[in-house]
């Protein structure tokens, strides 16, 4: 099942990448990033069957990092929305406020 898992991982990761490129809604782009992180988790789990349980420990770390990232990222999105009244990236393309 290793080959199938890795192929599924690759497909999910690429779907996330294409979603980031295609969408302009900041929240959906953020969800695509979460999908990419989850896809990588599947790789860790699939390999942990052959290389020991350490891979699953890394999945726990990835989950923690993605939770922290979601908290900070969504706070940034809320701050931008308060400033600009939009989350569309078309209107948020300047570094200066």
């Amino acid at each position: 099942m290793l080959a199938e898992s890795l192929a599924l991982t690759a497909a999910l990761f690429i779907i996330g990448v294409v979603g980031v490129l295609v969408h302009r809604n900041a929240i959906i782009i953020f969800m695509c990033v979460e999908l990419m992180l989850t896809a990588v988790n599947l790789t860790f789990v699939a390999f942990s069957r052959y290389y020991g349980a350490a891979g699953q420990v890394f999945v726990v770390f990835v989950m923690t990092v993605s939770a922290a990232e979601a908290a900070v990222g969504l706070a940034i999105i809320i701050a931008i929305f308060r400033h600009r009244q939009t989350v569309n990236l078309k209107d948020i393309n300047l570094l200066r406020g």
């Binding site: 999910l12 990448v17 420990v57 989350v87 569309n88």
Partner: protein, 183 residues
């Protein structure tokens, strides 16, 4: 290297894999953030099922609790808070040529990853047959993760707590707004 799997197992593995893939494709083509979030939850659930089938029961539970439970609820909460979903926000996708270019980039990356996956895996690192089952018997599903986490990776674990503290502080400072920050 690969033991023989019963047909029942293989069928369900492919079933959940196809569900995950289809939900991910539906997720990425939605324009409404709420619909996208719910399809993403569906993907997370199928992936949790795959984790359980791959002998990572604890990770499967964590997937449901942390990803589908906590993170996606935060996303939906933000969508609700910002009151997104009116037509001007929904027309978010980029133009035809941009989508075409994104598809090309995706195909290129996919073929690259598929080529990388053909590489020969190091056989000398593979744990002996039955070792994982033995560990699972000895330490239970949680213990197999807890033991390396609190022994070999203790420093990384402690650093994770610092990361979470920084994330909490950052979220509070960013979410506080300008009015409170000016004071």
């Amino acid at each position: 290297m690969d033991p023989h799997y019963p047909l029942f197992y293989v069928f369900h593995f492919y079933l959940f894999g196809v569900i995950a893939l289809a939900s991910a494709l539906t997720f990425v083509t939605r324009k409404s953030p709420v619909a996208a979030a719910l399809w993403l939850v569906n993907t997370m659930f199928s992936l949790a099922a795959l984790y359980v089938m791959l002998d990572a029961q604890f990770i499967g539970v964590m997937q449901v609790l942390v990803y589908a439970g906590a993170i996606m609820v935060v996303f939906l909460f933000v969508v609700m808070l910002l009151n997104l979903g009116h037509p001007s926000e929904l027309a978010d996708a980029r133009g035809k040529w941009w989508k075409f270019a994104a598809g090309l980039v995706g195909l290129g990356l996919l073929s690259e990853i598929m080529v990388i996956l053909r590489v020969k895996l190091p056989q000398q690192l593979v744990v002996p047959r039955g070792f994982n089952e033995q560990q699972l018997q000895k330490l239970n599903a949680v213990g197999t993760i807890a033991e390396p986490l609190f022994k070999e990776y203790l420093l990384a674990f402690e650093l994770t707590s610092v990361l979470l503290l920084v994330a909490i502080a950052g979220a509070v400072v960013l979410g506080r707004g300008r009015a409170a920050g000016a004071r």
